[in-house]
Amino acid sequence: MRSSNHSSVSPIAGGAEPSTPGPEWPRLVDTEAPPACCLPLLEVEIAHKGFRDPKRGEHRVVLEQLSFSLQPGELVAILGPSGCGKTTLLQLIAGLDRGFQGDLRWNGQTEDGHPRLGYVFQNPRLLPWLSLRKNIELVLDGQSHKRRRVDDLLEAMGLIDFADMHANRLSVGMQRRGALARAFAIQPQLLLMDEPFVSLDAPTARQLRLLLLDICGRTRPSVLFVTHDLREATMLADRILFLSTSPARITSEVAVRIPRESRQREDLVERAYAAVASRFSGLYP
């Protein structure tokens, strides 16, 4: 793998031919910023994050010198090799792990500065002792039309028939959809998703991607999601971040310029995908 100190946002517009990729990705210098409007929702600057292996006392660096920012309403995809630290990154952002060096700067709208967070974990993490419906209702505060909202979401996920089943009796794909429904239900301002559409058959996955776009169009959350599927990233994201193997840093960053309203058009996505893919073939060793 090429070692690179710099990456830049290389825009790839839907329909347009991709600009020819340089041999190295120069570092982002705030030129050609993503569809920015104002203050970023979140600025991530992680200097160092590691884990101590309690068995051998060894310290393994997982994230190092990783920084990027997330604009309000922006959809950002993260790609990277298996085990490089993507989940760890999301955990840090969600505030679940404070044992790192670096800084997370929020420019939030809520009273405590942190945005309302929806998290789709890599494993569904539905509570097995609650029914599917209860799992979703749980995260909602005393809204009045709770039940309606949950029903609508379950309907959209194709799970309405299973609403009263205990979560652990659902198939993995169904649980995953349940977890999506849970994260969507709270109308998050920041949506973190860790490989949200795996374990779903192609038609269902596509339908859910469109649902996500629909929701983004309506409530405009910022979305940061991990995926291993470059096609999916191309279709959904405004920007794609590529991570290196651990210690993970951002090796490159690509802006995808497919307008939101045309992202369901497979031909546009396919063309943009071909452009992105050709550039990155062979990037991972």
Binding site: L117, L127, V139
Partner: protein, 253 residues
């Protein structure tokens, strides 16, 4: 893993098992033939007579009241403390040695000291019983709290469930088996301690009566009173604990 064959008649199996116990006893009584092992009928007869003249029910009631009060107290205090100690390492470090002290201090010592310091009254009695049981509950629930699944905790945290919802929907369901253990072994322990308390300084209760019969070496009386109380425990078990547990475990595959 569990065979289904016989599971179709759980009630039948239960009754058969209880009956076989009775038959075993009767047979042993016959072959032993001594007042040191009276037959079931004799015990039943005595229990019946004691129940009729009101004594038995009075003593059972007194003991039951103490058991229930001390149980509720111990579960509440011990449960809270146990969960906290399981989660907060500092608190655990601070209270750990106290806990082991209290856990291993003989019931007798606690009871004597309580009686001596606070007098032989009902409140002291209930307190002394609860104090004997609390460390037990703490130990059980501390262990449970340590095994809580981090995944669910993170879920609760990121969705900002707040402590109340987290407690009720995330933590307690995971602690349920430990509560079941604490309740069941706890009722048994309390009932053992209440006997000592009643022996040492109460005017009524099953322990008081057991002691009286013990002085006379009247095994029939001892059995009549113990079995009556065990009967109450059986009713609590089958009418309350087991249905509750079944309900709470319905989700398990």
């Amino acid at each position: 893993m569990s065979p289904v064959m016989l599971a179709a008649h759980p009630l039948g199996l239960r009754i058969a098992s209880a009956l076989s116990l009775l038959i075993l006893w009767q047979w042993a009584a016959w072959s032993y033939e001594s007042t040191l092992l009276p037959p079931p009928a004799a015990v039943l007869d005595l229990a019946w007579r004691e129940a009729l003249d009101g004594e038995l029910l009075h003593h059972l009631g007194a003991t039951l009241r103490r058991v229930v009060l001390a149980f509720a107290l111990a579960m509440l205090i011990g449960g809270t403390l146990g969960v906290l100690m399981g989660r907060l390492r500092t608190l655990d470090l601070i209270l750990d040695s106290w806990l082991i002290l209290l856990l291993n201090i003989p019931a007798l010592v606690v009871i004597i000291l309580a009686f001596v310091w606070f007098g032989l009254n009902e409140t002291t009695a209930v307190m002394a019983i609860a104090l004997n049981k609390i460390p037990n509950v703490v130990v059980i629930l501390r262990e449970g709290a340590r095994t809580l699944d981090k995944d669910y905790g993170e879920m609760a945290q990121s969705f900002r469930l707040g402590w109340r919802k987290t407690l009720v929907y995330v933590v307690l369901p995971q602690l349920l088996p430990y509560f079941a253990v604490a309740a069941r072994s706890g009722l048994a322990l309390i009932w053992k301690i209440v006997l000592v308390v009643e022996l040492l300084g109460r005017n009524d209760g099953v322990g008081f009566m057991l002691h009286t019969y013990f002085q006379l070496f009247d095994v029939t009386g001892i059995l009549a009173y113990s079995l009556s109380f065990i009967l109450i425990m059986l009713v609590i078990e089958y009418a309350l604990l087991q249905p509750l547990e079944r309900l709470a475990n319905r989700w398990r595959r």
